[in-house]
Subunit: 276 residues, 4 copies
Amino acid sequence: MLLTFVHRRTVVNSYFHFITPSGKSSIVQGPPYHYGADFITVYFKSDPEKLQYFLPDPLKVTDGSAVAYVSDFVCTVSENALDAPYEDPAQATYHEAAVGIKCTYKRIPGVYYPFMWVDRDWSLVRGWSLGYSKKLADDIHMTRLHRYIPKVPYYGPGTKLSGYCARHGSRILSISLEITRKGTAKDLVSTPSVYGLRYFPANTEGQKMVNELVEIQKGNAQLGEEIWYGKGEVKLYYSRNEEVARIDPIEPLYGLAYQFGFTNYGSKVLEQFAKS
Amino acid sequence: MLLTFVHRRTVVNSYFHFITPSGKSSIVQGPPYHYGADFITVYFKSDPEKLQYFLPDPLKVTDGSAVAYVSDFVCTVSENALDAPYEDPAQATYHEAAVGIKCTYKRIPGVYYPFMWVDRDWSLVRGWSLGYSKKLADDIHMTRLHRYIPKVPYYGPGTKLSGYCARHGSRILSISLEITRKGTAKDLVSTPSVYGLRYFPANTEGQKMVNELVEIQKGNAQLGEEIWYGKGEVKLYYSRNEEVARIDPIEPLYGLAYQFGFTNYGSKVLEQFAKS
Amino acid sequence: MLLTFVHRRTVVNSYFHFITPSGKSSIVQGPPYHYGADFITVYFKSDPEKLQYFLPDPLKVTDGSAVAYVSDFVCTVSENALDAPYEDPAQATYHEAAVGIKCTYKRIPGVYYPFMWVDRDWSLVRGWSLGYSKKLADDIHMTRLHRYIPKVPYYGPGTKLSGYCARHGSRILSISLEITRKGTAKDLVSTPSVYGLRYFPANTEGQKMVNELVEIQKGNAQLGEEIWYGKGEVKLYYSRNEEVARIDPIEPLYGLAYQFGFTNYGSKVLEQFAKS
Amino acid sequence: MLLTFVHRRTVVNSYFHFITPSGKSSIVQGPPYHYGADFITVYFKSDPEKLQYFLPDPLKVTDGSAVAYVSDFVCTVSENALDAPYEDPAQATYHEAAVGIKCTYKRIPGVYYPFMWVDRDWSLVRGWSLGYSKKLADDIHMTRLHRYIPKVPYYGPGTKLSGYCARHGSRILSISLEITRKGTAKDLVSTPSVYGLRYFPANTEGQKMVNELVEIQKGNAQLGEEIWYGKGEVKLYYSRNEEVARIDPIEPLYGLAYQFGFTNYGSKVLEQFAKS
């Protein structure tokens, strides 16, 4: 799916910086990307008007449904480098925290994530290229349990999990889950479409900019067998550079812990915006 | 210089993600940006053909002259937030290491930096927007001296300085300088133009991409009074994701330590490339 | 097992800094500690004399057998805080890389780890208190595989794994494993005793110091069901502050990937050394 | 001042882990250490009883005077490695935030720092060895100004400075200063003695422990010429692992920005405590 483009001089294979003829120095390769992740997810409700504030036109908020998660990802670099977890382990794992808003595009339901934090630069730029709105966090941690640790129970009723995300020395988001029972695939809120914004700025007259509402092209969904259901909480914090707490107060519905794998193939453009 | 663009719904003031109507959540604001930095810089020569490999068309290598530096930056967030060093100190300082190649565009001499590493995400994206080819480093350190530390000499003949940059657990670049004498402004190699590449990728048919050769618009140059001249060394390391060592062997000429302030106003487009 | 000691004023419950009457600010609580970890381990041989260099008296090297691993730990804070993975996830996971030397104490076989790197301060001090010789690493990464990631095979013959440890911008140790077959518990080299050195320095006459050869008291061993056997490699790197590469050349024997849980109860003093 | 001690086998020159005969792998060398630092300091008052809670016996609180600072340090590794800023820049700079309490030992006035956070492991252990009560912070940032940055005023009346310290994703302490005028050496609160606690724990019967009230031996004080005086603020944050906010409410008096150099020679034992 990587578009090779013809430079005047030569075919340049780089997907992104560093741009070289070989393409080997690119901070990230083009899609498809394959992912496997552990999620602590909490579904919640907020005031639809407050949520609408964060949706790019023409996405429309629905009933105030939203979601927050903290997650631990394993991923590939590209279709041609499936050995990345071995060759360069620092290019194959990252953490991600996000807040998503249920919405519709021309009546087609989906989710849009106005806030996504990750802890590796290549995940940042890969996200922007696909249409995910990302910043780097300085610190994302989440509860991990280990099957063989003595005394500490593994996943099951009564187990408590949490995660947080911080940036510039301030906590932005905390979530927690107290498991009450096994869940099922039906507990995952179905979001047939994932909308995003491919946005790259211009700063001077004469420059091109990119401003595209997209639908991220997903496939290969694989939901882990163990799904855990329970009481979820989400805390949002005010800080100078983050507006996420504008959606307070929120009403948590329930939380889940589960594993999920999928593939991102690229992004289909729905609309292209121009500056006036 | 920030281009406000009209979203369908509303005027959106965000320069970049997170895109919100207020613009307050943007990872970085639009230019101009003001900078003050401490540099350890080494000028060197390499094979012009090897250097040309890293230049985007139609930039032309000159005589094999090049430069490497490690630096410690203080900067502003935007013209409207000159208080950033106070309000959000984590948004106002960063380290940067880079390798630049002397080149010409239509016979106008300048420098192009195919490799630039920084340690904050907002510096990364600000750089990309201006046309600088950046990656995050996991670790950039350089010698700092302190005027009031007992026993350790301050800058002067005999003082030794060094710096390095590492990513994904591997050293990429080391530079060192042994000061021999005071230098002058003439020891700084003049690079009237700084060229860059504004490049944002497309990954699917129908998406726009940006591929612009630019000249970064600079001003307010302020060179610090103390310039130190000496013997410089540069080491480049091979690693899986970095091609910088392709320019080896290199011949170091001399090094400098100095302070420099300047403003980046934006980038003037020289050429727009399209995919074939 | 925490020794409460009577301060003149009050009973102080702190195990370590910050020392307060409540003990709540202690960077780490006293043992026992419970652990569950994923290991990539490579057994190797080196020159016994070179290994002996790193053993405190009166430990005796055996046949040159040694081990290196990179690992991913989940742990408890103390017996009274088994909910740490939930309450404070940053206090419950860390990475560890180490090199251990097979040795004997009064003919009792065991292992001593002269080099251990971790990435959290509380693991550092907890280790020192138990008798493990630790430094902080700036970057420890290891391959993680995910059961639900598309296209990327999970553990099995042919799978390749790696890990590394870096400090001060330099790689110190890399290990890799190419799995060839299932392993068994017998492939784990038995080390009935783990020896350590509780060492806390004095810097001025009149200060006490601690210099105790100890045997770490372990229990609750739980070996994961899946053990993977294969071809292992270990690379040691020279750097200014690390002498580990003195044991080169080494001859790798084989490697394992496995999960292991255990408890550290404290350390039994074998010998107390005094300064002359 | 480094005490070489005779191991049975050999003279071991290591000050701390990694303990080797050469001493080269030690995470830190013995004192003296030389320091040069930039401070943002705020003097404040709190309830003497609340402050007394954090003082080890027999230190006595005075009138509720206390101090908080965030600072940026340059230092040496040891008397024998004054070239550390060149040879290993990552071993020569760190940040430190602290809260100190004015107190007396047998009527001799001084200061004791129950809370000190740093961002390098070697500073952590060096501090413990001297008697400073330290933890690692994940993030310490403070305002730096640059003499040559355009538009942004350098130190002077009206300039605002701030700093913060965070750990485990939570802000612990913030301080800020708005400069109103030049200060003088007399504005620095004189603390003739700096008291500390050399404390290394035992976790099992039979182990030695260290619990010594000490006076840190200082010298070579060099106060920078420019001292800036102004309105200071201190914010303390509650978090699970930090009790510092117990001293709230506090009343800030004034703040200073200044540069200071000094030497730590070691620690003189005042009292040795034993467990009961």
